[in-house]
């Protein structure tokens, strides 16, 4: 042995470094992507590809400008890209997807100092940006399992950059569906008071964003990560628990007005948000009590926005707001130091 190296603790660890964790998250996201492509066809595949490439491009430009080594190999930009694409509607024009990807990396991550420094989930920042920039395109929905989804793109997908997406009413009529309302289950509940059944959600027979449709699949993929300890199981449990409890209370008080807890759990982006967005390691708290409070806050905010807000879906803003409170939650919930007496100083 030629030399002795001095190193700080921990000396023995599990061997899971950032690329390993990130790569496993990508593996966990792949089934969701495949299901989304099977459901929506070529357009979903193109969207996932373009958004991910835009994220990688933004990351590479950062490396180039700041003169640092390439950080593409830590896989974090890939995750941001895939997650972002899964939260967009499948008919989203590709150029807007690219804008979302660039703003996710630049506004959400590199502005704050890169991986590990971001106070907010970058993918959600990207989605919030395009939701503010293109409110019409992001609330245009297409039916799942349309007839010729592998024969060609949805017309809006290939919109020329900076141009308005074309009207797709005519295209939807050609898909051989009798009645397509063009509204998500949450919007239908909010404006028409029609609650979709749990079975529709479990099999993905609903109108939604590219990756939000199959609750079971998301649950399984999330469980894989939880079992391998790549995400903190307490966050999704706290989110789903608080949503269930709160919506159950509302449902008990006024069953006609408020939908059942299962509807609240399975609809919209709640599953994807709880398992893959809220658990972002850089933007969630690390103290035990802080984690529970953080998850509960997301659940409560989601229910509040869905019930009383102007938007139909509240998961994105709920997670972003909770991200903002994460440092505070950590600060107020420091565990008692071993050996310290009485309440914390």
């Amino acid at each position: 042995m030629s030399h002795t190296e001095l190193r700080a603790a921990p000396h023995q660890h599990s061997g899971n470094d950032v690329p390993v964790i990130m790569r496993n998250v990508v593996y966990a996201l792949l089934p969701i992507c495949v299901f989304s492509v099977w459901q929506y066809g070529l357009s979903a595949a193109a969207l996932i590809l373009v958004v991910t490439l835009a994220c990688l491009l933004a990351e590479r430009i950062n490396n180039f400008v700041s003169g640092t080594a390439s950080t593409l190999s830590d896989w974090s930009a890939v995750i941001t890209g895939i997650l972002l694409a899964l939260t967009l509607p499948p008919s989203f024009p590709l150029w807007m997807g690219a804008v979302a990807g660039l703003s996710a990396i630049w506004l959400g991550k590199s502005l704050f100092g890169g991986l590990g420094q971001n106070p907010f989930n970058p993918a959600l920042i990207g989605r919030a940006f395009v939701q503010a920039a293109f409110p019409t395109a992001i609330s245009t929905w297409v039916p799942a399992f349309s007839l010729n989804r592998f024969a060609g793109f949805i017309p809006t997908t290939l919109t020329a950059p900076f141009m308005l997406p074309p009207d797709i009413k005519h295209w939807i009529k050609l898909q051989g569906l009798d009645a397509f309302t063009g509204a998500t289950p949450l919007a239908r509940w909010k404006f028409e008071n029609v609650a979709a059944s749990a079975m529709e959600f479990l099999t993905g027979q609903v109108t939604a964003c590219a990756g939000e449709t199959s609750a079971i699949l998301i649950l399984l993929c999330g469980l894989y990560l939880a079992v391998r300890k790549f995400l903190d199981w307490r966050i999704p449990v706290a989110v789903m628990g608080s949503v269930t409890l709160l919506s159950w209370l509302f449902h008990l008080a006024q069953p006609a007005r408020y939908p059942s807890p299962s509807f609240m759990l399975l609809s919209g982006g709640l599953m994807l948000g709880a398992w893959f967005m809220a658990t972002d390691m850089a933007s969630s708290p690390i103290t035990p009590r802080g984690i529970w409070l953080y998850g509960a806050l997301i659940g409560i905010l989601t229910v509040m926005i869905r019930y009383f807000g102007g938007l139909t879906e509240g998961v994105m803003y709920a997670i972003l707001i909770a991200n903002a409170t994460a440092p505070l939650l950590d600060q107020f919930n420091q565990p008692r130091v071993l050996g310290a007496k009485g309440s914390k100083s």
Partner: protein, 208 residues
């Protein structure tokens, strides 16, 4: 060269000490009224007029104003000219007056004005003070115009109300909302910072 010429004083505000991109002053109108290029330019010109006129008056009266009450006196002078501009814009174009809204009256609270009066006009003779003030005003106008252009082109697909890309342009709604002001301002600040860095590297001759 110990005493800067009047022309140097004028250029100072446009580039070296640009109120928006270098001093980062007057952010309230910068973020609020730069939704379109026309709004930006009219706001800038109105501020330029108030700046020039009030700095001239402050400079003329600099020996007469007692130190203890100088801030109140400057504000009084500035407020007088803001009232003039307020009525003038209302008379010239009511549409513009409504578009700019309370921000015309808020020129009085713009830190560039008090800053110039306190830091420059109160210590210099009338001619350089006025040149400096007008230079600052034009620098401010340029800055507002730069932001207003980007926001109008992206937010509405137009420049000076003329459509640039035809009917099928997809407007970026966020650009005409308040966040758009922050994004575009930050973008320009990055451009300026990068330019400054490049220039200082070249001057020092550091091989990059």
């Amino acid at each position: 060269m110990s005493v800067p010429s009047n022309f140097d004083e004028f250029l100072d505000g446009i580039w070296k000490q640009n109120p928006i991109f270098v001093m980062v002053l007057g952010m309230c109108p910068t973020l609020a009224v730069t939704v379109s290029a026309v709004n930006a330019i009219s706001m800038g010109l109105a501020t330029t007029f108030v700046l020039g006129a009030s700095c001239l008056l402050v400079s003329l009266l600099r020996h007469a104003i007692p130190k203890q009450v100088r801030i109140a006196s400057y504000i009084l002078i500035i407020a007088t000219f803001v009232t003039v501009v307020d009525y003038a814009i209302q008379a010239i174009s009511l549409d513009l007056y409504e578009a700019l809204g309370a921000y015309i009256k808020l020129i009085v609270a713009n830190c560039i004005l008090l800053g110039r009066a306190e830091a420059h006009a109160a210590k210099n003779p009338p001619l350089p003070a006025t040149f400096n003030a007008i230079g600052m005003g034009f620098g401010f106008t340029l800055g507002l115009f730069a932001i207003g252009c980007v926001r109008e082109i992206l937010g509405a697909g137009k420049l000076f109300g003329i459509s640039l890309f035809g009917e099928h342009f997809q407007p970026w709604v966020v650009m005409v909302l308040p966040p758009g002001g922050f994004f575009v301002l930050a973008g320009w600040l990055i451009v300026f910072a990068a330019f400054e860095q490049y220039k200082s590297k070249r001057i020092q001759g550091v091989p990059s």
